[in-house]
């Protein structure tokens, strides 16, 4: 999505335009779902959270007067991140967050192994991604799956560009080690 069309949708949402909301949903539903899915590793919860994130974004745009976010993309991902944090806090699963993701990944892995064979490399990458540290998983997702720029990632994660670059390097290295 181009920056201009992104801004048009953003201003449409600010003016409570339902058409703009539909466009934003069609554009970001998959991305946000994917982001949440890789964060929590559960399809159903990811769906519920995605739905909640869209509502939160709508309310945020219409109720807050401060246009602190310059792009709709950055706003969606920030709200998604915070929603995941809230999800773990509210269900008191913060402590076992990593464990749960890991167990979810293992379950999925077992399911896949139960199938005749691992159909392709990307599915094994998916499993390994779920085994990665949350910070690494997040940054690889934003960089290589969602194909965001370093600047956009830095804005979403509230980190410097240099810090983001270092994190990407380390995450990629960690995934490579896991794959090998």
């Amino acid at each position: 999505m181009g920056k201009i069309s992104d801004k048009i949708i953003f201003y449409g949402l600010k003016n409570k335009d339902k058409e703009a909301f539909i466009k934003a949903y069609d554009e970001y539903a998959d991305k946000i779902y994917r982001f949440v899915y890789f964060k929590i590793g559960n399809e159903e919860d990811a769906k519920d959270l995605t739905s909640a994130i869209f509502l939160k974004t709508w309310n945020h745009i219409n109720n807050s007067r401060l246009a602190d976010e310059k792009t709709l993309k950055a706003l969606f991902y920030k709200i998604a991140r915070n929603s995941v944090i809230d999800y773990y806090r509210s269900s008191r699963r913060e402590e076992c967050m990593e464990k749960e993701i890991l167990s979810n990944a293992i379950d999925e892995k077992n399911d896949l192994l139960n199938q005749a064979s691992v159909s392709s490399d990307w599915e094994s990458v998916k499993i390994k991604m779920l085994e990665l540290k949350d910070e690494y998983r997040e940054i690889l997702l934003l960089k290589y799956i969602e194909e965001l720029s370093i600047g956009e990632i830095a804005k979403i994660l509230d980190k410097s560009k240099g810090n983001v670059r270092v994190l990407i390097f380390r995450a990629l290295k960690a995934l490579k080690e896991l794959m090998n």
């Binding site: 409570k16 339902k18 909301f21 539909i22 949903y25 069609d26 539903a29 998959d30 779902y33 994917r34 899915y37 399809e43 990811a46 769906k47 995605t50 739905s51 869209f54 509502l55 709508w58 309310n59 392709s120 490399d121 990307w122 990458v125 998916k126 991604m129 690889l140 997702l141 290589y144 799956i145 194909e147 990629l172 995934l175 490579k176 794959m179 090998n180």
Partner: protein, 308 residues
């Protein structure tokens, strides 16, 4: 696995998506939810608190509709008035040829027309005549002796003469008005004296007719004469006082006229500074006279316990 291959595989993860059915149904749910939030926020007060809410809403809206034009109108009036006052203040020290000079002249005319008595008008006339003389000095102070300046001086001289003519005629009016009042006072005084005299005669005549009650009549005559003299004495005093005042006023007015003529003489000799001084002298004399009149008026209640 190499890094490039790994990145390529990571990009394949884009395939992870929610199913289309969920997406579609969830979109409908979300749309209905945001539409619901719309209708709640747009709900009018009528439904919440009935007629009172509706009336209140209408009143607040109506007040805003009425208040805004009134506010704008008041601001516009304030702006115009403040502009006028500022321009008059700015025009105070202007001379002919300046853009605001006309505002000064209009202001002067307005002041004269709004003055409530002749004395006030006279004072203003003197002030404005002095202004003309000052303006002439301002025009002449410029090194430029052009025909334009000479024309301005001529115009100002004519205006000065007009102002002086006005002042003189007003002084004349004041003079004639003050002559009429003392004459009336003198006439009243004479009438009252005549009444007293005729009263005495009548009483004495009555006393001669009824000899038995002579002593009583004499007493009545005495008492009435004393009473009448007592009652007529303040009138006589005031009338004699008025005559004295009128005389002194006339003397003062004569003095004022003399000084004004002197000022005119000085002006004709082109001694503008001297003419201004003379006019200021007349102005201060009129003001001092006002002060005296005020003092007399203030003193009057304390000096009239005669009726008691």
């Amino acid at each position: 696995m190499e890094e490039k291959e790994l990145i390529k595989q990571l990009r394949y993860l884009k395939r992870i998506k929610p199913d289309d059915y969920w997406k579609k149904s969830n979109r409908e749910v979300l749309l209905s939810q945001i539409t619901g939030s719309f209708s709640v926020s747009a709900r009018p007060d009528f439904n919440i608190s009935g007629w009172y809410g509706g009336f209140k809403n209408l009143f607040i809206k109506g007040r805003a509709i009425i208040a805004q034009p009134i506010l704008v109108f008041c601001l516009a009036i304030a702006f115009i008035l403040s502009g006028g006052i500022l321009s008059i203040n700015a025009a105070r020290n202007t001379k002919p040829g300046d853009s605001l000079y006309i505002a000064k002249i209009i202001n002067e005319k307005a002041k004269i027309n709004l003055a409530f008595n002749e004395e006030k008008k006279t004072k203003l006339g003197l002030e404005f005549a002095a202004n003309r003389a000052k303006e002439i000095t301002q025009v002449l102070s410029g090194a430029n002796d052009s025909a334009e300046n000479l024309q301005k001086v001529e115009e100002l001289s004519n205006n000065f003469k007009e102002e002086m003519g006005g002042v003189k005629s007003r002084l004349q009016k004041i003079n004639t008005a003050r002559r009429i009042i003392p004459q009336k006072a003198v006439l009243n005084n004479k009438e009252s004296e005549n009444k007293i005299a005729s009263g005495k005669e009548a009483e004495i005549f009555g006393a001669n007719l009824i000899k038995e009650n002579k002593s009583v009549d004499i007493f009545i005559t005495k008492s009435t004469t004393t009473a009448e003299s007592a009652t007529s004495s303040p009138a006589a005093a005031t009338s004699s006082g008025a005559v004295k005042d009128a005389d002194s006023e006339n003397i003062k007015l004569v003095d004022l006229t003399k000084i004004i003529e002197e000022a005119e003489g000085l002006f004709n000799k082109k001694d503008y500074r001297g003419a201004i001084d003379k006019l200021e002298e007349v102005h201060s004399l009129i003001e001092n006279k006002d002060g005296e009149v005020k003092d007399e008026n203030e003193a009057a209640p304390s000096s009239s316990p005669v009726k008691n």
